[in-house]
């Protein structure tokens, strides 16, 4: 891996995004708009304080998963991936380049969403807003890494989009947002232990209820990063220089 090639790749991915202003606008503003809608629905009740923080982590995960899986699928079908793999570019340069570019977008997206939630919608949290952004960024990167990985199993854009309900919605249902995980049937609680989004929601619940950086939050972050690394490694395995 080389820093020069990784940065060149990240720059190229960002240049592609810049050409598509509508996608950028949706990535940046849709989470904030959805939060505003929720704030309106739960107007005045403390439900918004309970579900707002976890959603700040879930949105970047979903958006980055979707965008990355389609972007990498396009790279595969346009022949540019094959061309790059005949050039002196490491697989790590490509994967980390994508992660960096979408990481930048994830940071902007979550700074916007967190600002809207706390200062616009008066969401109450004990912990620091910066910590919410950190967890949201980790989630955005996790979404990117998983999107890179699953795109290898999609033969068309239709399939790639269907991976969202297939891969992401079960995690959404089990992550503890709808029902605290310890109140679920035991088998489902065990399953949710093995899913990365559960740790994101757990971390954000801690930020919501405790001030400062607790050990529990750090543990959750470590687990999220470990899942991200594993997905990137899996993604590297799916980038084959030789194909049939």
């Amino acid at each position: 891996m080389s820093a020069r090639l990784t940065l060149a790749t990240a720059g190229r991915v960002l240049a592609q995004l810049r050409q598509d202003r509508r996608t950028v606008a949706m990535m940046l503003f849709v989470p904030s708009l959805l939060l505003s809608l929720l704030g309106w629905i739960y107007d005045g009740s403390d439900t918004f304080d309970r579900i707002g923080p976890p959603l700040l982590g879930i949105f970047p995960f979903i958006v980055m998963f979707l965008v990355t899986s389609v972007a990498t699928l396009r790279e595969r079908t346009s022949g540019t991936l094959e061309r790059l793999l005949t050039m002196p570019l490491g697989k790590g340069d490509l994967l980390v380049g994508y992660a960096l570019a979408f990481g930048v977008v994830a940071v902007v997206q979550s700074v916007l969403a967190v600002s809207v939630a706390i200062w616009g919608l008066d969401m109450q949290i004990e912990g620091s807003p910066a910590l919410v952004v950190v967890v949201a960024l980790a989630n955005g990167l996790l979404g990117t890494a998983l999107g890179l990985f699953v795109s290898a199993f999609a033969a068309s854009e239709f399939q790639a989009v269907q991976f969202l309900p297939a891969f992401v919605l079960p995690q959404f249902l089990l992550c503890g947002l709808l029902l605290p995980r310890e109140q679920m049937p035991q088998l489902l609680e065990r399953v949710s232990d093995a899913l990365p989004l559960s740790y994101a929601v757990d971390a954000l619940n801690h930020v919501q209820s405790t001030s400062g950086l607790s050990g529990a939050i750090v543990t959750d972050l470590v687990v999220i990063v470990a899942f991200t690394m594993a997905a990137l490694a899996g993604g590297a395995l799916t980038l084959k220089r030789r194909t049939a």
Partner: protein
Amino acid sequence: MNNAHEAAVEVEDLVVVRGERTILDGLSVSVESGTVTGLLGPSGCGKSTLLRALVGVQIVKSGTVRVLGLPAGHPSLRRDVAYVTQSPSVYRDLTVRQNLRYFAAVLGADPASVDSVIATVDLTHRADARADQLSGGQAIRLSLASALLGTPRLLVLDEPTVGLDPVLRRDLWELFAGLARAGATLLVSSHVMDEAERCDRLLLMRQGRILANEAPGELKRRTGSHDVETAFLRLVQSTGELVAR
């Protein structure tokens, strides 16, 4: 031609199977270095598969493929071998210049060379157009331009001149000849037989086999033909005796 260090490409008993179909069945061929070698044959004869095997992106069943003295696909060949696929492989949502800047960065080529390769393929007036706004021929030229970045020693070009304007086609063949004079080897596939005259050497291919590997003049003399098309037909008729190794 059998002299090992003179051959830029050496293929022996190459077998490629895709699904149930055998695409290349024990193909052997060598390509002399410093030449423009044309790979001619009808579509579906296995040209692209052979080229993919040379650049190391094709899964092969058996046989050996050596390129510039190394096994095909060897990491140190990635700077020395430039490959252009038949359909343009470029980022459709980036401009001509953005595409080439990125490929130049990946190859470690001088960023200043971007503008000169754009001029070489006659795209200067479209340098800031997005690739998805280019005509088919312009997109092919963009794809070709990225193979001219850096200093490749072997250029593997899959039908690079299809659908191009005759004037530009002539200029590109002159460019290929110039690169060969400077020491590079070019392997250029085509299904248009009239491009054969532009090549130093010809590989005629049909149904996964090489029918001939010689200079255009020799080929015509040997088969008693006026043009390469007729030579090809005569070779097909007498394949049994004339299959070249």
